[in-house]
Symmetry: C2
Subunit: 165 residues, 2 copies
């Protein structure tokens, strides 16, 4: 059961590929923080994000894509940009015939720390306990993507493309 | 100079294909209001929208895509869904190697009616005067797409993919 999980954004996209092995243990196969330059138009940045997700799905052949939903923030401009990136990412999943599962920041906190009001530091600390990470991670976005993937693997959702959302 | 222009949404997407002929007159080649069912998941709806835009770009080979930006509305949920659709649509443009040009509702009103505070009825009335429409149009979204296309054709912007936005 291999999945790709995403912390969406247009400046930085956290990406992780996780697998639950035969003994039911989660393994991290790949993770990255994909960055796009603020010097190029937003449409170009969205395009590069879409191409990266498409490339990784084709390379690793995950069976589902898990993605974090947005906080209802007051910054409308950020909401628009991140939602556009989310649209592009979810499109790539369906284009490659894999279903999309969405998780709220609250669901991810509860799944990883058991507590809905945990802060970023607590989530990162628990992610490090839940899964072996053999690399240095510089950006929180990458941890968030791993946390989203762990949340999905813990949810045991069926991979029926027509029954989600 | 053929273009595709879009009034984005996830419930209804207004789509138009316009061309400025050799005499500098705008012609409507195609228009439609593409609808998706609320009975299927939003991700599926986004996918269908992306596929439709991809199909039309391949069929009509426009040289640019013009799209309306969002009003800063109070309804965050709508903003998210429409932004996701915008992301998918803009991705399709770049995937097909055509540049994206964005226009605000204000710019479109001024370009079509000469007045920034005109209402929907005035925009529709002017669109009917500016371009010949040989069909019945049921949804405003389709008129909005045509208005967006007329705005772009009036702007005379260069089609340099790296210089927009």
């Amino acid at each position: 059961m291999k999945i790709i999980s995403i912390d969406p954004g247009y400046e930085r996209v956290g990406i992780a590929i996780l697998e639950k092995n035969d003994r039911g243990k989660e393994e991290l196969i790949y993770s990255d923080c994909f960055k796009t330059s603020s010097k190029i138009p937003l449409t170009e940045r969205l395009f590069l994000i879409g191409q990266e997700i498409d490339k990784l799905i084709k390379e690793y052949a995950p069976k589902a894509l898990a993605i974090e939903t947005l906080f209802f923030t007051t910054n409308q401009k950020t909401v628009m940009g991140v939602s556009e990136a989310r649209g592009v990412i979810m499109y790539q999943a369906l284009f490659n015939k894999i279903p999309v599962f969405e998780y709220s920041p609250l669901q991810i906190k509860i799944a990883t720390t058991g507590y809905g009001k945990s802060d970023k530091k607590q989530v990162i600390s628990m992610v490090n306990k839940l899964i072996k990470i053999n690399k240095d991670i510089k950006y929180d976005d990458e941890y968030d993507a791993i946390a989203t993937g762990l949340t999905h693997l813990a949810s045991n959702k069926k991979y029926d493309i027509l029954k989600q959302n």
